[in-house]
């Protein structure tokens, strides 16, 4: 049938695999079945919740109860049926998750109908209690997180409502912090225990064992260094650090007795010590160590503000900024060194057995599908990234700096930039009233930061080791430069504000300045920042000139072009010179731009696209309209272009049968979600992240989708009934796509003929058919 159009793939498959990392069909298939089933289940449950929140009066209260209890019963019976027949293990988990969320809806409905006004902690606590059996049997990390979140939340509300433990107001907040830190630490320790058990099992009995146990060296490395933890463990870890930090700050910010000081500080130290012992000594986990450093720095900084700064007078702000930069730079240096140590070990491992590594990887992905975890795509990307390590090391070293370290540096840079600005304002207070002086000051600051960024300008293309060293010794200077540059931009903004009357001119000039900085300064964090601000200005200008419909499409286009290299169609020919987008100087430009445009796209579609918000941002008094269908059409066009780019990696045209199918599903999704415009944009981001195996952007896209739901609930453009209906439609369309995907997959699957009883979850090995299904 479609064979003719796809037949050249096998030959290009191997070539493309070697020349560039094209994601194979299996990854796509796995991703799409997972993604569509998760999102359609979520959308279905949300449709129900939104419907309850609409509080429809036509439907008597018994009707509402019947509806929700019926949904609850159906999902549990569905689970029981599937579990009894032993099929669709992932759907079983999803059904339990749905049932757990619906239980919350049912309890909320009781509260709504009878207007009892019981303390809200009771609702969340009852919710947590009712779902315990399902949490236990589902073995789904997301469900455990939901449960832990409920416990945390109900405990928080309980302490606020002044339960009997908290009747004594003096120590109630300390008691609350200690207990909640203990609860979360316990959860973290248990999660780590299970993770350890799982890795043990995997190393000994897992499907990869035949390869790994043959080689004792591999085993020891995986055990001592790092198997990335499941994402849910990081969430719990972040929660523990958050509450522990508040404990650490408690004695500093509150006047308290010696006992409570010792208690709070001791608890904080204990948590920090635990993190250091667990994630530095026992295994190395950079993200957890970043959290640890962040907590330590926050507490030290607050101590400095409280006890040292008062004696420094005017210098205080500068000293604080300096201290913050020094602390975060040394933390980042430490973490980077650990990172390169780990990488070097795994690279040496890769070098010796590249072939085995690939084998391990692909068999892992088999196992992954059966795996009982929801988004282990993330983990899978981690696995596949170990394969790329050899390439990653050759790339500029900034590319290997994990996103959380960049975020860490960025935050500390923002804060210290603000402190430096404050210091300069205090120092030069009267002189700063003149606009020219401000201009001179900002140019001077920019120049200093440029010099600080480029002390080794002429040795840029040196060896890896030298680049490493350079990076290490200049983390401090470049953080300082970043902060100075931010402060300079603040002054520049003030200058622009004073010199020009109309905000359109101010914003456009500021945008030009950002573009210039983007071109000049070579630091990737700074480039990200400049690109982000410049795109923000662009969005503002588009809204100002009454073209807000363009903004999402333009951002999506930038993100698409920067993240998907434009493949020349006769791709089988190996390119003679490096591909345009693989030029090293260009990739340092394109990467930050890609991240910036993606983040901005998510923000625009998640937060600001509603007409009410845009009007608020722009502040124009004139009539403001947002043409949803027009914006959606433009976005669909960009999505089709992105699909074309991705397809061209697989030697497929958008006009082929597969291409038409994909195009059709994009258009369908576009039509269904006209008023839910965030869905298409976030899907685009997620798909491009999968195409690039970029798990940072994938995580970002998924969390944006979650945040988007909350925004959608509170947005007042359309009634909840309409929202509920549209979510239902989205759920049905996604479910239909999933069914179609499975059917097509089976029609083409040769394995199906061999094992006619195999369930859809059974992996087949047919790469070609799956590549057809990548809408």
């Amino acid at each position: 049938m479609t064979r003719p159009s796809t037949s050249p793939i096998p030959s290009t498959y191997s070539t493309s695999q070697t020349s560039r990392n094209v994601v194979d069909g299996r990854t796509w298939y796995r991703f799409f079945t997972r993604f569509t089933s998760i999102t359609s289940a979520t959308a279905l449950v949300l449709a129900l919740i939104f419907f309850i929140a609409y509080n429809w009066m036509y439907m008597g209260k018994m009707g509402k109860f019947g509806l929700v209890e019926g949904a609850l019963t159906l999902s549990i019976l569905g689970y029981a049926l599937l579990a009894y027949r032993g099929i669709y293990p992932f759907a079983q988990q999803l059904l339990l998750l749905m049932a757990s969320v619906i239980t919350g809806g049912l309890l909320a409905l009781v509260g709504q109908v009878y207007q009892t006004g019981a303390d809200s902690w009771q609702l969340f606590f009852a919710w947590a209690v009712f779902i315990i059996p399902w949490v236990l049997i589902a073995r789904l990390p997301a469900l455990w997180l939901l449960w832990l979140g409920l416990i945390n939340f109900s405990f928080m509300l309980y302490s606020e409502a002044g339960g009997f433990w908290f009747a004594n107001a003096a120590y109630s907040s300390l008691l609350y912090l200690i207990i909640i830190t203990a609860i979360n630490s316990l959860a973290l320790i248990l999660a780590l225990k299970f993770a350890d058990k799982l890795t043990d099992k995997e190393v000994r009995h897992g499907p990869t064992s035949s390869i790994e146990t043959e080689d004792p060296e591999v085993k020891t490395i995986t055990e001592t260094i790092t198997l990335p933890l499941h994402w849910s463990v990081y969430v719990v870890g972040a929660m523990v650090v958050y509450f522990a930090t508040r404990l650490g700050l408690y004695p500093i910010l509150n006047f308290s007795s010696l006992l409570s000081t010792v208690l709070a500080f001791g608890a904080w130290l204990a948590v920090m010590g635990f993190f250091y012992g667990r994630f530095r000594k026992k295994q190395i986990d950079l993200l957890m160590l970043t959290l640890l450093s962040g907590s330590v720095i926050i507490v030290l900084m607050v101590i400095a503000t409280q006890y040292i700064a008062p004696y420094l007078g005017d210098l205080a702000l500068f000293a604080l900024a300096f201290m913050l930069i020094a602390l975060s730079a040394s933390a980042v240096n430490w973490l980077r060194k650990l990172n390169t140590d780990v990488k070097q070990l795994s690279v040496s491992r890769d070098g010796s057995k590249n072939q085995t590594e690939i084998n391990v990887d692909s068999s892992n992905s088999f196992e992954d599908l059966e795996d009982l975890e929801s988004f282990d795509d993330l983990e899978d990307f981690n696995n596949s990234q170990t394969v790329d390590n050899t390439e990653a090391i050759k790339a500029p070293i900034t590319a290997t700096t994990p996103w959380y370290l960049q975020l860490f540096l960025g935050l500390s840079g923002l804060l210290s930039g603000a402190l430096i600005t404050g210091f300069l304002v205090v120092l030069l207070n009267t002189a700063l009233r003149d606009t020219p002086i401000k201009l001179i000051l900002s140019v001077l600051l920019l120049f200093i930061s440029w010099v600080l960024f480029n002390p080794h300008f002429f040795r840029r293309f040196s060896t890896v080791a030298a680049a490493n060293n350079r990076e290490k010794s200049h983390t401090f200077s470049s953080s300082l430069a970043f902060a100075l540059s931010l402060s300079a931009q603040a002054f520049l903004g003030a200058v622009l504000f004073e010199s020009f009357d109309t905000s359109a001119i101010r914003v456009s000039i500021f945008m030009l300045v950002q573009v210039l900085l983007f071109a000049i300064i070579q630091d990737s964090l700074h480039r990200f920042f400049s690109a982000f601000i410049a795109l923000g200005c662009l969005v503002w200008l588009l809204s100002y000139y009454q073209l807000p419909e363009l903004s999402a499409a333009v951002l999506a286009l930038v993100a698409t072009v920067t993240s998907l290299p434009i493949a020349k169609l006769p791709f089988s020919k190996p390119p003679k010179r490096l591909h345009f987008t693989q030029q090293p100087w260009l990739s340092t430009l394109i990467k930050p731009l890609n991240y910036a445009s993606t983040v901005m796209l998510l923000m625009v579609s998640v937060l600001f696209i509603a007409a009410e918000h845009t009007q608020y941002i722009v502040g124009v008094a004139t009539e403001f309209t947002y043409n949803y269908p027009l914006a959606q059409t433009l976005l669909v066009a960009v999505c089709l272009y992105a699909a074309h780019l991705i397809l061209s990696h697989y030697q497929l045209k958008l006009t082929s049968k597969t291409g038409r199918l994909i195009g059709l599903s994009i258009i369908c999704l576009g039509i269904v979600s006209v008023y839910v415009s965030g869905i298409l944009a976030t899907s685009l981001v997620i798909i491009m992240a999968v195409a690039n195996q970029n798990k940072t952007l994938l995580g970002l896209g998924i969390s944006a989708l979650v945040g988007y739901v909350f925004w959608y609930y509170y947005q007042l453009d359309s009634s909840l009934l309409m929202k509920s209906g549209s979510l239902m439609a989205v759920a049905l369309v996604l479910f239909a796509i999933r069914k179609l995907l499975n059917r097509e997959h089976f029609v083409h699957s040769s394995l199906l003929r061999l094992y006619p009883t195999s369930s859809p979850a059974d992996k087949s090995n047919d790469d070609v058919t799956k590549e057809e299904e990548l809408p």
């Binding site: 509080n55 036509y58 309890l107 006004g117 303390d119 088999f366």
Partner: protein, 227 residues
């Protein structure tokens, strides 16, 4: 006709886990599956039974308990309406808070009075209905057990909760269908059903002419649903 090339480095698919294989009708269920099934169904029945018992209790309360009106006090004149619910405060809160304060002062509990606006406590008061059915504050209940409180003929108990110095009677939010805020702006009284123990449930909003507010759109359908 279907060509299914296997990329050179791809191993043959490992057999999937046991759990993902469809179970043959003859093989018995594993212990794990049995436990899961039993737990899932137990969870469902507990949830349904508990919820429906709660619903039944509330329904009995609504049909048997006595109707009382309580006067509303404006919470915040600028944003009375918040989406699909209305924030409420009751005029009766003021005399109750004053009485609690006076009682503590009389006891010499000055520390307590200072923290009165940050305390959380539960308790009961005695109210009396007037001719229109509006409840008015009489005195604080002196006994923690509601059965012990001596009540005159026309007096009744009313439970209250103080949270951070704010007095709540049942709920401080009235929910209604999205988009019907306008109709409820007329609200002057909240209609409660208060049972023997003094436990209140908020049922309706009542305007100044003592008429239950029913948004026009749904008036005809309201009959079975109201009160």
């Amino acid at each position: 006709m279907s060509i299914t090339p296997i990329p050179p480095h791809t191993p043959t698919p490992t057999p999937p886990n046991e759990s993902s294989k469809p179970r043959d009708n003859n093989t018995p269920l594993t212990l794990k599956t049995k436990v899961s099934l039993v737990l899932a169904l137990i969870g469902l029945s507990i949830t349904l039974v508990m919820t429906n018992l709660t619903i039944k209790n509330y329904e009995t309360h609504l049909t048997t308990a006595e109707e009382v009106l309580l006067e509303l006090a404006p919470v915040d004149p600028r944003s009375l309406m918040q989406g699909d619910y209305m924030a409420l405060n009751y005029a009766i809160a003021e005399p109750i808070m004053a009485a609690i304060e006076a009682q503590e002062v009389a006891k010499g509990n000055l520390d307590y009075v200072e923290t009165l606006y940050n305390i959380s406590q539960d308790g009961s008061v005695i109210i009396k209905k007037d001719a229109q059915g509006v409840g008015h504050f009489v005195r604080l209940a002196q006994h923690s057990d509601s059965g012990d409180e001596p009540l005159a003929q026309d007096e009744m108990l009313l439970q209250y909760r103080i949270r951070h110095g704010q007095l709540k009677i049942a709920t401080n939010a009235f929910f209604f269908q999205e988009g019907q805020a306008e109709a409820f702006e007329q609200a002057k009284y909240g209609m409660f059903r208060i049972n023997e123990q003094g436990k209140p449930l908020l049922t309706d909003m009542v305007d100044k002419r003592f008429k239950v507010i029913e948004p026009k759109k749904v008036q005809s359908q309201q009959i079975d649903n109201g009160a």
